[in-house]
Amino acid sequence: MIAETGHFALILALAVAVLQTVVPIFGARRGDARLMGFAVPAAQAQFLLLALAFMALMTAYVTSDFSVQNVYQNSSVAKPLLYKISAVWGNHEGSMVLWVLILALFGAAVATYGRNLPPTLQANVLGVQGAIGVAFLLFIVTTSNPFLRIDPAPFEGLGFNPVLQDPALAFHPPFLYAGYVGFSMAFSFAIAALIDGKIDAAWARWVRPWTLAAWMCLTLGIAMGSWWAYYELGWGGFWFWDPVENASFMPWLSGTALLHSALVMEKRDALKVWTILLAIVTFSLSLVGTFLVRSGVLTSVHAFAVDPARGVFILGIMAVFIGGALALFAWRAPLLRQGGLFAPISREGALVFNNLILTTACAAVFVGTLYPLALQSLTPEKISVGPPFFNYTFVPLIVPLLVAVPFGPFLAWKRGDLAAASQRLFAAACVAVLAMIVVAALQQRGPWLAPIGIGIGIWLIGGALSEVAFRIKLFDAGRAEVIRRAVNLPRSAYGTMLAHAGLGLVVIGVVATTAWRVEDITALKPGESTEIAGYTLRFEGVRESEGANYAERVGFFDVSRGGEAITRLTPSKRHFNVEGSATTESAIHVSWRGDLYAVLGDPLEGGAYTVRVYFNPLVRLIWLGALVMFFGGGVSLFDRRLRVGAPVRAKAKVPPMRLADAK
């Protein structure tokens, strides 16, 4: 009964979404306020219906209702509650329901908090948002219904992929999707602006918070995925340039570019056409990401043959939305006249440089991700494009941007003074160069580029701190003045500082781990020990034990350093009975120097075990940096001037001019 209710709610939501698309857009063309106003309750109703469907699916999972095929295939009775819940989105059908639920959530938010938007803009935005909902709901209802029943109902489910039974991965998909789908807001606003032929700074003020919120979620989602891969896959890497990872990284890159170009548009009324295009491209990349992961092309081109309907359907959705949006763009964008002149050396110029590099780097990742797929479908050759490709392309492209980042906030709008900016960054540059020299002197092994990389990371952090230090006159004014300035400084300035400093932390973590990681693979018998990075690991033997839904073999390693006992590491191998598969659980000792990472391998002849030990210096900075970036976005999001739904000041209430006459 519950499953049928969910199914029914899905179909109703589809019907509501159709109305939400057609009625408001038609109303906006006719200038009929009543028809436009219909968008608000429709968007709210769509969200409630999808929430009901989602709750129905979750109830089926929590109560282990195996008469629902989706539950039978992805759950089991013995599984802990957290993973019964996370299994809802740990499969194709359920994750698509989560996708549209988040889409509807964003739509409902614009409906509820967007009362001070111009009515035609709100109607068009909700209409476009509704259209995306129609496409994906149609996809779910026709090809991926999660509420199919099986009769007779089995007593036990097939279980849930054990590597996914993990706390970080339980929350990874919701954040990732909130990021992907959040960019639909920017897309809908862009399309609405193109339909209207009207766009102004107020538009950017509306789009920026949504894009920022989506960007924050995507940042956190990607970081969680990377953290999970680090400790769960058992080989201690944090990023593999795997197509699935790239699928989430491409919208992140172009979304970051969008954040910065929307800034130019908001403050200077320039880069309009480009910002609109970026909004379209960012969401298109989110759709490409959904397609790559959900259609099965990545697992195998032949997955199309297994269920061609799904892949072709998403491909169709992509063709309609990306093709339609770009066609609309080509048709209407010439109407948007460019405003705000600026010199090449200026804040705008710096942000254009940021956009140029980010989009180019994104394009390089795009080529590396899709080239093998294209080659495979056009020729019999099969290739894989691995990390070396991205190291040769992405890294050299992004480094100039990293060096340029601290200059941006120091340049004035319209016309900046590079010499003055350099002067103010002198202290940061000194610290960075000093760091390079110290690191180069201490470095015993590793590439010569590593000290430069660390220097760039320090430069980013120093530059970010200098910006705020100068704006509050930390060294030039009395204490009272400094405090007054620090309090009055807009939160978005602190947000920028945190985000750029977080990027610096990520750079340091990536460089240190890549350059100086130590790896040791040995065969150890109980009582024997191995040494790595100054630590001694003594293997004490193994013990078999039972978990909630698995049996495990735990290895015991006593870790000491210079004769002093530090900790005991217990890596294990788990065998999941229901699923019939095994996972490797690594054990990690965290210190400020880095992570000591141990993995228990297979038993060998004579009672020995293969043991794999890593030392990953400063690896935690990667995720710490991502977290700092996330908080930077949050601080900026709560800036008074940006708050979603904040009352518009009288000054901003000047009716937007037709773009064609705006200069």
Partner: protein
């Protein structure tokens, strides 16, 4: 600076960045991609020792030897040709005899494939897609390669 000059600077910068990017991509594509071969293809192509590629097939039954410390020897087969493989390290959780496997590395002068990376999937029914395609091509294996779930590849160096 006139509007035209500004535009020239902008377009010039954009073209410069783009041409650098195109150059890098072309260089990387010619240099760092790895081809995928089955043992039969390796034999037919007479690969030069030291050239990196991915080898895919099934782990031959009874071929896995773990005698010397952490080095493992096994044989990869596509049911018509076999290739011996040696690998030092911890194998993925689902590395088993009779199951599909993808190994990345290069042939040594001794004719043994020295893998530095072995891939497998956390799924009982899993067959690496490249292997399934190759085996299907040769008509040896007709399996349901329909498992496209959210399984993550486990990689081991």
């Amino acid at each position: 600076m006139t509007r035209k000059q500004r535009r020239t600077v902008l377009i010039g910068t954009a073209m410069a960045v783009l041409s650098v990017a195109v150059g890098l991509v072309l260089f990387a594509l010619s240099d760092s991609i790895v081809f995928f071969y089955s043992p039969s293809e390796v034999m037919a192509k007479e690969m030069a020792p030291g050239q990196r590629f991915r080898l895919g097939g099934l782990v031959e039954d009874g071929s896995v030897e773990r005698s010397q410390g952490t080095t493992v020897h096994f044989v990869v087969t596509d049911m018509s040709k076999e290739l011996p493989v040696s690998y030092t390290g911890v194998l993925p959780d689902l590395f088993r005899e009779g199951q599909g496997v993808v190994a990345e590395g290069a042939l040594g002068p001794d004719g043994v494939f020295h893998a530095d990376n072995v891939l497998a999937k956390h799924d009982e029914k899993y067959m690496p897609p490249e292997v399934a395609a190759k085996l299907k091509q040769q008509g040896v294996w007709e399996g349901a390669s329909g498992e496209t779930g959210a399984g993550a590849e486990s990689k081991v160096n």
